[in-house]
């Protein structure tokens, strides 16, 4: 019985595959469902990589249109979502390149930095440090902080830690090895932690509960 159940589980079709089949059969409304399901994620990923709102809007449109055009090439042996994200990442890198007037941009850029490999600022943080800021102040701090990472670190952190892809899915999506993803992820996490410390560390002589307001970036 257990064996039968496990075989049934393995053969269970992901709901996205059924939607893709319907689109291939000419049902455009099924694509509408896929767009609504993943548009926020695609937009976030594009923003993380391009750091530009206008570019993220273009990437979102282009990625969904390209995916629609190339739907016949989707094999079904990977998830539709990771396949879509791969298209969105490539579109985002192209936009970033255009912004930088043709200079090559790849996910390998600036990843050889040593920053973050050894934690320097070891001050502990206040309890629930984010509560010392308003929602918009916090969002600004988080945006400004992640903006300082090289694109190759930003994208790994965004896919793995923000969007929740597995290490293997992140590697497949970016065309990187699993060890390369793990190495970049650790350094991205440590760099972000170090940079956020200036806002979130316990203040000398404080209980960690007093509101501090925004600090000026040094």
């Amino acid at each position: 019985m257990a064996t039968i159940q496990s075989i049934a589980g393995e053969n269970e079709q992901h709901p996205d595959v059924a939607l893709v089949e319907r689109v291939r059969g000419g049902d455009v409304s099924a694509y509408d469902t896929l767009v609504r399901k993943y548009d926020r994620q695609v937009f976030r990923i594009a923003q993380h990589i391009t750091q530009n709102r206008e570019d993220a809007e273009d990437v979102m449109q282009d990625a969904f249109l390209k995916a629609y055009e190339k739907l016949d090439q989707f094999q079904g042996n990977s998830k539709f979502y990771t396949w879509l994200v791969r298209i969105a990442v490539n579109e985002s890198l192209m936009r970033l390149r255009k912004r930088r007037t043709g200079r090559m941009v790849s996910i390998d850029e600036d990843v050889e930095t040593e920053e973050g490999s050894v934690p320097r600022d070891l001050a502990d943080w206040a309890p629930d440090p984010e509560q010392n800021y308003t929602q918009s102040e916090l969002a600004e701090i988080l945006r400004k902080t992640i903006q300082g990472l090289p694109p190759g670190f930003r994208v790994v952190f965004a896919l793995r830690d923000v969007e929740g892809l597995s290490t293997e899915e992140t590697a497949e999506t970016l065309g990187l090895s699993v060890p390369a993803v793990k190495s970049r992820l650790l350094r991205a996490r440590l760099q972000l932690r170090e940079r956020l410390s200036r806002y979130f560390r316990k203040k000398a002589g404080s209980t960690g509960m007093a509101p501090t307001g925004m600090e000026t970036e040094k």
Binding site: D39, F157, R189, L192
Partner: protein
């Protein structure tokens, strides 16, 4: 080792060893707790929100092109 602990991909035996170490090493304990917090803050705060109006506009544009065959 730090990332394996964060991602919960360590064996039970290794976890016990690491927890033993963390009890006596403030350096590692602070690094671990603040790195975990970093991930949690980024995961739980929407920093690139897409307003409803923008979402609907982009959605309409995408579907209009798809219906035309792109």
């Amino acid at each position: 080792m730090l990332d394996d602990l964060i991602d919960d991909s360590v064996t039970t035996e290794m976890r016990a060893d690491l927890q033993e170490h963390l009890r006596d090493c403030e350096h590692c304990e602070v690094t671990l707790s603040t790195t975990r917090k970093t991930i949690q803050i980024y995961r739980s705060n929407e920093i690139y929100d897409m307003p409803v109006g923008l979402r609907e506009r982009l959605h309409a544009a995408i579907m209009a092109r798809c219906k035309k065959g792109c």
